[in-house]
Symmetry: C2
Subunit: 327 residues, 2 copies
């Protein structure tokens, strides 16, 4: 999807935004007005090897310049969102899915590209994308929660990306909100993402099926060689399957606790929900809003809006591009 | 206690900081270097009547000026922390302990005093005091938690007081962290302050005593005409009373959940603990640090420090004074 096609006035800058994931690397040539002028995708090298990833990025950035007839000097900078912790020096402190620790990503890319590079956390930068061009536009304080395998967050405070003092903040998926029947892979029990994520949903359905609760999902699970997907659970919920509805209800109930906690703490203008599960938002958004409202400290006319995020897969490249331009 | 007695260089400003509580109103004539040049206290009128409080404040501010031989023009401004929500226009949206709703405190005081006035939340401004002159000095992101009747918080982000977008933020006492045997007075179950506050501690001890658990506190409670105090419970814990230790342990365990959540969310340099219970911090601080560490997402060398706040009762007047100077 190419956004904001209208030509913008003078002084438009061009940036390249990169969303580096464990399976793919997404690239966007982005204007400062938020147009995505070109969008490409490459596979993340299977080894996740640092040098290998650098080579893929270098190759693709140079390819984009060539295709677009641009020179390095035409690019204001390259922003890159990584699935882990990046510090203020552009080093990847750790990125578990990539098996990286202490990788000087900014420095190595700047040497290879000859273009300024800024590195940030992927969810934070997706939030920055929604802040500039999506569901969090025209706010000063707003949060993006990404409901995927885990629960990630991008937090904007005072109009800036908030990372915390040591780039370790906004781990909202690991906010403890109760007790759960399984432990989080961080070692704790009761983390929000063990109740409100794709993993959580599937685990809870399996838990119910293992306890012999009757459900159409039982046959489905047994008939296929792979685990149930959230989409299958949502589909069953649409058909009023009891187990699916029970799991969806629990997911919504705990997500509402998380939302209320975040509203009580941050009092943002907007909390936007992104990530794969948000695409089935119609199934839980009304109930989520209702439940959240009962738990916020200020209940009457609480002004925080809960919405589905706008930019889908483009949030990361737009936010990364704006990150190098603005911060 | 008069802080920072050393004379400061040219251009020192003088402000009056006011800490408005349900039982007393504290006043401080404060220099921009953080010296408290004069400190006074008046009773809050029993009726909590808005006009009555305005008259007390006006009388006391004028008295301070007279005693110090100062004129209105010598005072940069008056900052005032209120026990409730104050919006950006200096209106008290609500302050339950004062029975106030929608009171134009800034405007009415400016008319009466002829001095600029700024109004903020008391815990937020106490945090701003610790940020300038206390346990949170030299930080960019830091939190003060006040462990009193409830659990309040002052949050500094990017070096500024953080209120949220609608001045409803930092209600950290109402973060839901589990299930409790009694409901919070906000209507929810599981709020942090129902586990980690003076009220919580006393309620849990009563709960154990009512369940006939043997304890020296049982006789104490029955022998006195008033409820147990946190100090009595701490004293019993020092003497290894089982019920007191059990209550202290639960208090610490849940406070650690709150601390870990806040570290995972904010990644601050410092979390400072203030309020009455923090004066017995030696009883729970080592265990609190240990437990918090096991629950933070980044466990190895997590850099957030947990400390006891410095300024005690002066935090509010210092923070209020700095608030009118800086924000």
């Amino acid at each position: 999807m190419v956004r904001r096609m209208g030509m913008k006035k003078h002084q438009q800058q061009k940036m390249i935004g990169i969303d580096l994931g464990g399976t793919s690397i997404k690239f966007g040539l982005v204007s400062s007005g938020g147009e995505i002028l070109r969008k490409t995708k490459r596979k993340t090298p299977a080894s996740k090897n640092f040098e290998g990833v650098l080579a893929v990025i270098q190759g693709e950035v140079e390819g984009i310049l060539q295709e677009e007839g641009l020179e390095k000097k035409d690019i204001y900078g390259v922003g890159i969102g990584i699935p882990g912790v990046a510090n203020g020096k552009g080093e990847v402190v750790f990125a578990n899915n990539l098996f990286w620790k202490n990788k000087p990503l900014q420095r190595e890319l700047e040497i290879r590209l000859g273009i300024r590079v800024k590195v940030g956390n992927d969810a934070s930068l997706a939030g920055f994308g929604e802040f500039h061009f999506g569901a969090m536009e025209n706010t000063r304080n707003a949060l993006l929660l990404t409901l995927g395998t885990g629960l990630g967050a991008g937090v904007i405070i005072h109009g800036k990306v908030f990372h915390g003092s040591h780039y370790l903040g906004t781990e909202i998926g690991h906010m403890i909100v109760g007790e759960n029947f399984y432990d989080c892979n961080c070692g704790n029990n009761g983390c929000l993402e063990t109740f409100a994520s794709a993993t959580a949903l599937v685990k809870y359905v399996n838990h119910l099926l293992d306890a012999q609760e009757p459900s159409s999902l039982k046959d489905l699970r047994e008939g296929q060689q792979k685990p149930l997907t959230p989409q299958q659970i949502f589909e069953a919920a649409r058909k009023q399957d009891e187990v699916a509805l029970k799991a969806l209800n629990r997911f919504t109930r705990y997500l509402a606790v998380g939302m209320a906690n975040l509203i009580n703490i941050f009092d943002p203008e907007v909390i936007a929900l992104g990530g794969g599960l948000s695409e089935s938002g119609e199934l839980f958004l009304p109930e989520l809003r209702r439940r959240t409202k009962t738990m916020t400290y200020v209940k009457e006319n609480n002004p925080t809006e809960i919405v589905i995020a706008d930019l889908k897969n483009d949030a990361g490249i737009l936010g990364s591009a704006m990150f190098v331009l603005k911060e």
